[in-house]
Symmetry: C2
Subunit: 334 residues, 2 copies
C-alpha cells in the first residue's frame, strides 16, 4: 500500500528494496572517473554487432541477464520488466524483452526513463501482488546521434553547450524482500516547457522540469536540500546544473555540495564532452553503479534521484515546437 | 491491493471504475458503422492545425479535456495522466500533457498502448494512493503513414493485406469510486516474435501476441472463451483475427461469435481499408465509445479487452529485423 502525502508525493508503505543492479558501458565511459564501479566495460562500442542499434540492444540484454544473476534469481522469479530507451518506438527495450519469458511494460520519459521505471516498478510492488520487478534503460552515442542529430560520418561540429550521449545501460531489480537500499517516496513529474527550442541545449530545456519536481517534493515533505545526503539529477550536464542551482537559489532553497548530476560525473573534463553526459543510459549507468554502491555500504543514506528528460522529437523540432521536459523523482534510503 | 492468481494474472481487490470516457475521431472514422457512439467527429483531419502531428496533438488534448469534464471533475482532481502514441518519442502524449497541471507517465506498447495504459492505471489505484487516473492514446492516419511508411504525397499503392491507421483518440478515467464498469483482472503481455518481417502485414505479426496473452489468461483463470460476453482484440484486422481464430482452434478453445476486433468494427467494407483499422487510436476510440456504452448499460457484462501492438520501427525494419508484438489484457465487468 502507498499513501499520498499531500498531492504529488507518494509514501511507500510496503518495503521496496533495490536488491541488485547491473551496468554496462562503452569504451569512452569506461575511461571516465567512475569507471571502476561499472560491472562491464565494452572493448568496442559495436558489442560485436552489425549496427549501433543492435549493439545497444545487445548491451541492454546483457544488463538484464546479469542483473537477474546478480540478484541470485532466474527469469522465472521476475514478474515484470519495465523498460524504455531513446530509440524510436523504444526498440532497444522491446527487442531486448523478447529474449526473456517475462511480461514487459514499455515506458518513456526520454532521459528520465530510469527514474520513471523505478517509480512505476515501486508502485507495482505497493499493490502487494508483485515480488520482483526489473527496471532498465539504455542509450548509445552512435544510435542516438544519427537518430536525433546527424550521422557520425557527417562529422558535424558540436556546440560548446552540448552534451555527449552516454553509451550505457543500467538495470535494477526491485523486490518486496531482500537486502539493499529502499525506495521510500516517489513524485511523478509534470511536463514543463519554458520555450527553449535549441536541441543542442538539453540542459536549459530540462532544468525547469527538475526545478518543478524538486520544489514540489521539498514543499510537500517540508524538507530542505540539506536533509539529504545527495540530490542527483539525471543529465542536466554542467550548464543545466548551473541553471538549476540558480533557480533553486532564487526559490530560497540553494543547492549545496550535496547536489550533483550524473552527466557531470561520468566524464572528466579531459574527455571533451563539453557539458558532460546525457541519454537514458547516463543516469541509469551512474545511479546503478557508483551511487548504488555508496547506498549499499551506507556512505550515502538518503538519496534523491531525479533523472531528467527532454521530450521532443526531430519532427517537433523541424516544425518549430519548443522542447517540453519532465523529471520523475524517487527517494532511496539506505 | 492486488493479488497474483498463479503467475501472470492479477486480481484487483480494490474496485477500479471506468467512470467516464471520451472519444474523438477523423472524418473517415466518423462515416463508419459505429459513428454515432463517438463523442466528436472532426469535419477535417487537420483539426485546424498546420501539420498532421499538431492535429493529432490537438485531438488528444481535446479527448483529455472532455473526459475530465464527462467525469464531472476538473484537472485538480486527477492524480496522473498515463498516455502514449505511435509518434517517435511519444510526442503527441508529452506535448498534450504539458497543457495540464497533472503529473504525466509516458507508456508505449504500440497499438496495445490503450490496454497497457488501463493496466498500469488500475495498478496505481490498487496501491490505495490514487483517486483518479486518466488513460489516453491516439493515432492519426497521416502522421503515421509518413512516419512508418511513405508520405501521402507519394501516392504509394497499399497491399491488400494492409490496414488503415485510425485517426482518433480515446481517453478514459479510472477512479476508486463512482459508477461504471470495473476492471477486475489484468494480464501483462510478453513480447512474442514469430519472425514476420512484412511491415504491411501487422495482423500476422500481432496475432501470436494475442494468442500468447489470451491462452495464458484462460489457463490461469480456468475459463473458456464462452465465459465472456465479448473478447475484443485491438487491431488485428480481418486477416489477423482469422489467424487468431485458427491458432485458438488448434489450441482447443475456438473463438465463437463473442470474439471481435476493434479494427474490424470501425470501418465498413465499402470504405476500402482492406483488412480494417489499426493504430493506437483504433482500440482507444472503439473501446471507449461503443464497447463502453454496452458495458455501461449492461448489454455486455464481461469484456476481455486486449489491444495488440507491433513493436518495430522503420530502422529495425531497414536492418532486416522481424517484428515483435505484444498484447496486454484487461478484464472489464459491468
Amino acid at each position: 500500500m502507498a499513501k499520498k502525502l499531500k498531492k504529488y508525493v507518494y509514501i511507500l508503505e510496503n518495503p521496496v528494496y533495490l536488491v541488485a543492479t547491473s551496468t554496462i558501458v562503452g569504451k569512452k565511459e569506461g575511461a571516465g572517473p567512475i569507471s571502476k564501479y561499472f560491472d562491464m566495460v565494452a572493448g568496442d562500442d559495436t558489442f560485436g554487432q552489425k549496427s549501433y542499434e543492435k549493439a545497444e540492444r545487445r548491451m541492454m540484454e546483457e544488463a538484464i541477464f546479469s542483473c537477474i544473476s546478480n540478484a541470485g534469481k532466474d527469469e522465472n522469479d521476475v514478474d515484470l520488466i519495465i523498460g524504455g530507451d531513446l530509440l524510436n518506438q523504444l526498440v532497444t527495450s522491446s527487442y531486448s524483452a523478447r529474449k526473456f519469458n517475462i511480461p514487459f511494460l514499455g515506458v518513456y520519459a526520454a532521459c528520465s526513463t530510469m527514474s520513471e521505471s523505478y517509480a512505476v516498478g515501486s508502485m507495482m510492488l505497493e499493490t502487494g501482488a508483485f515480488s520482483n520487478v526489473i527496471c532498465v534503460t539504455s542509450s548509445h552515442f552512435s544510435s542516438s546521434e544519427r537518430q536525433f542529430r546527424s550521422p557520425l560520418e557527417l562529422g558535424a561540429q558540436r556546440q560548446t553547450y552540448s552534451q555527449w550521449t552516454v553509451t550505457g545501460s543500467g538495470c535494477g531489480m526491485l523486490s518486496k524482500s531482500g537486502k539493499g537500499p529502499k525506495i521510500t517516496k516517489v513524485c511523478f513529474g509534470k511536463v514543463t516547457d519554458y520555450g527553449v527550442k535549441d536541441i543542442a541545449n538539453m540542459g536549459a530545456a530540462m532544468a525547469p522540469a527538475a526545478y518543478s519536481t524538486l520544489t514540489t517534493f521539498l514543499e510537500e515533505t517540508n524538507t530542505t536540500p540539506e536533509d539529504y545526503d545527495l540530490i542527483v539529477t539525471g543529465d542536466l550536464g554542467k550548464l543545466g546544473s548551473d541553471i538549476l542551482r540558480d533557480l533553486m537559489k532564487k526559490y530560497g532553497a540553494p543547492l549545496g555540495k550535496n547536489y550533483t548530476d550524473c552527466g557531470h560525473m561520468i566524464f572528466s573534463s579531459e574527455q571533451k564532452t563539453f557539458q558532460g553526459g546525457s541519454g537514458a543510459g547516463c543516469s541509469a549507468s551512474v545511479f546503478n553503479s557508483y551511487i548504488y554502491d555508496k547506498l549499499k555500504n551506507g556512505k550515502l543514506k538518503k538519496v534523491v534521484f531525479m533523472a531528467t528528460g527532454a521530450l521532443m522529437s526531430t519532427t517537433t523540432n523541424q516544425q518549430g515546437d519548443s522542447i517540453p521536459a519532465i523529471s520523475h523523482l524517487v527517494l532511496f534510503e539506505a
